[in-house]
Structure formats: structure tokens, C-alpha cells
């Protein structure tokens, strides 16, 4: 059950250059400066963090997860400063983005002609920020990572930090009943979503929001949202109608 979500924040890296004729390459080059900045971002890891939602999530997960991944979860919960354990968890396909802020370049643009040295090179950096961390602080951190004053970091929007919603017993009970009716024995725990949703502005405006959809997928093969060949199991869609019918009855019926 989603009770928190990371803050979606977009940043733009911009490098400008005098440009010129491509037959006489200059020593400074905006594309190369940008590529170097991207390589530094690729190598960087933000500090691992835990909050109430993710702690509850990893406690739930560690009970069902055997092997090395479960061990890493238990080590990290016991010692939140165990960065190696957090790194191990983060590297797992099913846990990506849950242990820290993550930033990744999503778009590139540079140049105005193939035979001219470009005057402008930009990269979009999409960050999913751990709840409670201000996007302006991440901007400052990106500037430190890049460590090149010719690479200018700007924010693409003015989102404020996301907040977590407190757990409500009525919502939790209705959700648990609906899920377990369709999936007996399925463990239920709060979750921080790495994706941004419309819940964020409502939470910021004081309306608690809970992510309680009943769709299910196989992990990680069905994680394809925003990517190629997006899909959902047929049974998942049908089950979800029944799931919402139960939820609506429990929370708005008698």
C-alpha cells in the first residue's frame, strides 16, 4: 500500500560554447564537457536513507526474502549506516530506487548543424528524491557531483518535497480484505513509490492519499511502464474490478 512517494524533479544541465567551424575543433567543447558531467553522475551514488514507510516495507520484505537479498535487508535495518548492504539492495531489480534518491539522464540535445561546433548542449536529468529532501538541495548536490562551473544546473519545475500520509486503520483493513480475498496469504505492508503520481499535490495540500490499486504483475518482467512493450496480465485487469468493488463497498457503504 503506497503511503509515500519520492519527489519527482527534473533538472537541466546546460553547457554553452562560442562554437565555430567544425573543421577547426576548439579545446573547449560543450558536448565533451556534458559527456564528462554525465560520466560523473553515472558513477555517483546518493546517500542511502530509511523512513517509516520504507522501514516497514523492508521489514515485511525481509520476512519473505530468503538468501543474500534478505540478509542485506536485515543487515541494513539493523544498521542504517551499512552502505554496502544498502547498495546490494539497490542493485536488485525489484528494489531499484527504494534505498535513496536516484537521478538518471533521460534526454540529450546539442548542436545546430553537423558542420558547426555547437553553441549549446543540454541534458535532462530526471531525479526521484527521497521524501522530505528538498529538490533545491539535490540541485546543489548535482552541482557538486559535476564539479564544473561551465555546466549549469537548473530546475525544470518548482515542485516542493513530497510528504508521507499517516496510515488509517479503515483504509488498511479494506485494502487487506480485498487483497487477501483475491490472493490468500499475500503479505501487506506500506510502500514508498519511486514513481510520481497525482497523489503528491493532494498530500502537500493536506489530503492524505493511499495507493491501493489491485492490479498485480510478475516482478520484474512486467515492469514496463514508460518503456517498450508495456503489458498487464489479463487476469490482473479482471481481478482489479472485483478489488475496487470491495474497496468502495467497505469504505463508502454500510
Amino acid at each position: 500500500m503506497q503511503t509515500a512517494e519520492k519527489t519527482f524533479a527534473g533538472y537541466t544541465l546546460t553547457v554553452r560554447n562560442r562554437g565555430g567551424h567544425s573543421s577547426k575543433p576548439r579545446k573547449d567543447n560543450a558536448i565533451y564537457s556534458l559527456a564528462h558531467a554525465l560520466d560523473r553522475i553515472e558513477a555517483y551514488r546518493f546517500t542511502p536513507m530509511l523512513n517509516d514507510t520504507t522501514r516497514a516495507y523492508f521489514e515485511g520484505r525481509s520476512k519473505i526474502e530468503k538468501g543474500a537479498l534478505g540478509d542485506a535487508m536485515r543487515r541494513w535495518l539493523a544498521n542504517p549506516n551499512d552502505g554496502e548492504a544498502a547498495d546490494f539492495i539497490e542493485a536488485s531489480e525489484s528494489e531499484v530506487g527504494l534505498t535513496r534518491t536516484r537521478c538518471v539522464p533521460t534526454r540529450l540535445f546539442a548542436g545546430h548543424a553537423d558542420n558547426a561546433l555547437h553553441q549549446l548542449a543540454t541534458a535532462m536529468i530526471n531525479c526521484r528524491i527521497f521524501p522530505g529532501i528538498e529538490p533545491n538541495a539535490v540541485k546543489a548536490e548535482l552541482e557538486k557531483i559535476v564539479a564544473d562551473p561551465t555546466v549549469v544546473v537548473t530546475r525544470n519545475e518548482d515542485n516542493v518535497a513530497s510528504l508521507a500520509s499517516p496510515l488509517r486503520p479503515d483504509v488498511t483493513e479494506a485494502y487487506t480484505r480485498a487483497i487477501r480475498t483475491l490472493h490468500p496469504g499475500m503479505p501487506i505492508f506500506p510502500e514508498m513509490s519511486t514513481g510520481a503520481s497525482d497523489a503528491r499535490p493532494f498530500r502537500v495540500a493536506g489530503i492524505p492519499v493511499y495507493g491501493v490499486n489491485g492490479a498485480w504483475v510478475q516482478v520484474p518482467t512486467d515492469f514496463r511502464a514508460h518503456g517498450k512493450d508495456e503489458r498487464i496480465p489479463v487476469q490482473s485487469l479482471y481481478d482489479n474490478v472485483v478489488h475496487w468493488q470491495m474497496m468502495l463497498r467497505d469504505l463508502a457503504g454500510k
Partner: protein, 478 residues
């Protein structure tokens, strides 16, 4: 492409500390009435944004054609040739024949191009397509590459016609409409339209030969007799992508960035040819015992001395003259801000030493970046290596006389290899030797802004270039 000025540090040693005159402040020798006509034509030319795909080339061709027509060239000798360059780019070339009443020699071809490289209003200080005169300069896209040359070659002919000059050979003017993108106009002109353009040799106005350094010392005038081969490659990376909230360990943009870091550090093998050997021999003499001069001498003595070649290449005046150079010029990647990129692509522009095949450069680049990155040549333009043109004594004498009239004997004239490709290569490939002999000049490197921001040309350079071409027509066709 604007041929890049060959820099010859003539008399750098003997000039000593004495303050040289700022060449921009020397009065032009062009009479005021012709200055006004020249300025007006340059203004009109710059304010036609003749960038590819904008459909403006016929208007530009008509502007020049109208000048020749008004000066008395009959319509039957004025040909506006429409053609398609890049897919969908409906452009045009202009061919004008100024007939000799009693031709005694084969025609002479004068080449230029009417198209300009894209310029974006948001990148420039001023609107690139609004003509400005400021601080001794004309500003605007095309002011140095090469609407100044279009105007000078046209205006010089008109001036001579008005004075009753009759050439003793036909002078053919060819202005292409896609030199900066495809060079298809020059390809057509040197093959299918050969009946209109056939000539003993060509003089290309794309590339001012002369320059001064920051201390106003003459750097010499390089006549380009050879040029590097132009070839663009695309570096492409692919990835399954996904949701950007869940970054994958592999990433198309990171793979591309790694390739670009390797490209940045890569240096091609240094090479010498006849044009550059002659050029560096003269440069070494002029440089004397300076560090640069010593490096040139070491390299000429031992072409395998890579360290010497590297030291030369690192000098801003010599960039691109010692080897093949490739540089990333454009980037694109990704399809949405909140999705991992499924592909990323860099445009890499190479200037290849004459005689080296573009496919060999492709293989070298592929080996450099490794299997994660696909390296492919631009399918719209496959470069063809061209031979150097043998230097003609009559051309060398005519250019030397004209250049030294405006700049004095210290402005020496020598053959060079151009690092930029131009329409000349297509004619060279078809057996017509071409020489880049435009008389425009600037302060190096400040005024070298062709294809870049805030392009400009000194006012005096524009005006004296009319007289420069007038002298060349008189010398080679009179």
C-alpha cells in the same frame, strides 16, 4: 564551408616591437558610390535567411541575377537552376556567363555559394538575419561565409562592365544553393550542367585567404590547392529503456557519454602531404627559433615525430592541419523526461586528410568506441577524397599582386591545404582545378566566426574585396 585562413606569421620576427597599424582603420580604396552599392547588396543578401529547407534560395539567386541583368548580361546567359538538395530542400543554383566578344582562351569559372549555416536568434546577441554595421564590422549570418564573397565577385564584375571592360575569355559565375549541406549543386554543375560551366580552372570565393594576428601583423594569404574530405558519422546507442524512477544499470546516454569521452581523447595519426609540407616549410622559416617553429622543423625532418606534430596541432592557428580531426557537433537522445532513453545519438563531423578513405576512419572510430556503440556514416553524404590542384603561376601572380596592393609585401602568398570542404572539391574530382582566392580578411582568431555566433567581417575587408576581384578578373581575363 568557409575555407580556413592559412596563417603565415610573415615578418613576425623582423617587425619587432614597433606598433603595427590596425588594418581595420586603414581607409578602403573603393570609391564611395561603389561602397554604397556594395553595402546595399550585402544588406539585402544577409537579410534573406538562405538556410536549407527555408525555401529562400530562389530569392537569393534572383537578387544576384538581377545585378548581372541590370549591368547588361542578357537573360539567355542567366540560368537559375532549381534542384533538391537534402530530401525536401527545394533549392536553386545560379549560373551566369559573361561572354567575351573575342574569346582567345578557355573560360574561367568563379565559384561561390548562396546558402548559409543555420543561426538561432536565441543564441546570438542580435538577430542573425538583420544586417548591422558596428565598430568597423558588418554583422549577420553569412557576413563572412560567404555573402561577402557573393557580393564582391558580383560587384567587381558589374563595376568592370560599367567601365567598358571586355574579358578575353568567358567568365562563368556559379553560385550553389546547398554547399553547407549536400554540395549537390556543385556535383550537378561539374557533371550534368557541365555545358554551362566547363572551364580551364575555377576560382573559389569561399574562403578569404588573408589574416592579421591580434597585434595586426600580417599572417599571410593561403591559396587553398587541396582540401580535407568531409564526412559526418553518427554514433548510436540503444537500450530497452523503462521507467526513469527505476534506473537500469545500463543506459543509452551513459554508453554514448563514454564513447564521447574516448573520442575527446583520441588523436589520429599525423600526416604530411605536398600542400602541407610546403606550408609548414614556409611557416617554420617565418617562426624562426620559436617553440612552434622548432616543432615544425622537427616534424618536417622526421614525419614520425608524433610529439612535434601534436605540439603544432595544439596551436590555435594550426588546428586541423597535421591530421584527420573528428569532433562531436550534435546530440539527441531520449523520448520523454520521465523515461529511460531507448536510444541516443551523437553527430560526429570528421575532416579527413586527402587520400584517406572515409571507411577507414569509420573502422578506426568503431574500434575506439567498442561494440556498444554503432558507428555509421551519414547516408546523405559520403565523402570522396579529391586530389590537390597543381598551382598555376598565372593565378599565383594575380592573387599576389592583388593581395599586396591592399596589405603590402609583408602579406606573403602561399599554397595551403584547407581544413574545410567546399564546392571546389566536386570540380577537382571532375578534372577542373580550383583555387580558393577570395580577398576578404580578418583578425585571427577573433574574426573566425563562420558557422558560429555573431559572425562578422571587417567593413574594409568587404569593400576592398570588390577591388581584389576586379584586379583578378583583369589579370586573368584581360
Amino acid at each position: 564551408m568557409k575555407g580556413v585562413t592559412a596563417a603565415l606569421l610573415a615578418a613576425a620576427i623582423s617587425t619587432g616591437a614597433s606598433a603595427a597599424t590596425d588594418p581595420r582603420t586603414v581607409p578602403t580604396q573603393l570609391p564611395p558610390a561603389w561602397q554604397a552599392k556594395t553595402r546595399e547588396l550585402l544588406k539585402q543578401a544577409i537579410e534573406i535567411p538562405s538556410v536549407h529547407n527555408r525555401g529562400e534560395m530562389p530569392r537569393m539567386a534572383k537578387l544576384l541575377a538581377d545585378q548581372f541583368r541590370a549591368a547588361g548580361i542578357p537573360d539567355s546567359d542567366i540560368h537559375i537552376m532549381p534542384y533538391e538538395a537534402l530530401p525536401g530542400d527545394k533549392t536553386a543554383a545560379l549560373i551566369v556567363r559573361w561572354r567575351s566578344p573575342k574569346a582567345t582562351r578557355k573560360p574561367m569559372l568563379v565559384l561561390g555559394h548562396m546558402d548559409v549555416v543555420e543561426a538561432k536568434r536565441e543564441d546570438w546577441k542580435y538577430d542573425p538575419f538583420v544586417f548591422r554595421e558596428e565598430g568597423g564590422y558588418f554583422l549577420g549570418r553569412g557576413s563572412s561565409d560567404m555573402k561577402d564573397g557573393d557580393v564582391a565577385t558580383t560587384m567587381a564584375a558589374i563595376k568592370l562592365m560599367s567601365e567598358g571592360f571586355k574579358p578575353n575569355r568567358d567568365i562563368i559565375f556559379f553560385y550553389s544553393g546547398d554547399e553547407e549541406t549536400q554540395g549537390k549543386g556543385a556535383t550537378l554543375a561539374s557533371t550534368q550542367w557541365r555545358n554551362l560551366t566547363d572551364a580551364e580552372f575555377g576560382l573559389n570565393a569561399d574562403g578569404g585567404c588573408a589574416a592579421y594576428d591580434r597585434d595586426f601583423r600580417p599572417l599571410g594569404c593561403g591559396i587553398s590547392i587541396a582540401e580535407k574530405t568531409f564526412q559526418t558519422y553518427f554514433f548510436t546507442t540503444h537500450n530497452p529503456g523503462g521507467h526513469s524512477s527505476r534506473p537500469r544499470p545500463d543506459n543509452a546516454i551513459y554508453d554514448l557519454a563514454d564513447a564521447l569521452e574516448r573520442l575527446r581523447a583520441h588523436r589520429f595519426q599525423p600526416m604530411l602531404n605536398d600542400a602541407t609540407r610546403g606550408y609548414f616549410t614556409e611557416r617554420a622559416r617565418q617562426e624562426g627559433n620559436s617553440v612552434l617553429g622548432e616543432a615544425m622543423r622537427r616534424w618536417l625532418a622526421n614525419p614520425n615525430d608524433g610529439a612535434a606534430a601534436d605540439a603544432i596541432e595544439a596551436n590555435p592557428l594550426e588546428v586541423g592541419l597535421t591530421r584527420t580531426r573528428c569532433v562531436a557537433t550534435m546530440l539527441k537522445g531520449g523520448h520523454a523526461d520521465n523515461a529511460l532513453p531507448q536510444s541516443a545519438e551523437a553527430t560526429v563531423n570528421c575532416r579527413i586528410m586527402p587520400g584517406v578513405q572515409p571507411k577507414d576512419v569509420q573502422a578506426e572510430l568503431q574500434q575506439l568506441v567498442g561494440p556498444k556503440v554503432e558507428v555509421k556514416p551519414d547516408p546523405n553524404y559520403i565523402g570522396v577524397p579529391t586530389p590537390p590542384s597543381p598551382l598555376r603561376p598565372d593565378v599565383l601572380a594575380a592573387v599576389t599582386k592583388a593581395v599586396q596592393r591592399f596589405h603590402g609585401p609583408a602579406m606573403r602568398v602561399y599554397p595551403v591545404m584547407s581544413t574545410g570542404a567546399s564546392d571546389g572539391s566536386f570540380f577537382r574530382a571532375q578534372g577542373i582545378p580550383v583555387y580558393d582566392v577570395d580577398g576578404s580578411w580578418g583578425i585571427s582568431p577573433e574574426d573566425e566566426r563562420a558557422h558560429g555566433l555573431d559572425e562578422r567581417t571587417p567593413v574594409r575587408s568587404m569593400y576592398d574585396d570588390v577591388l581584389h576581384w576586379e584586379m583578378i578578373y583583369r589579370a586573368l581575363a584581360g
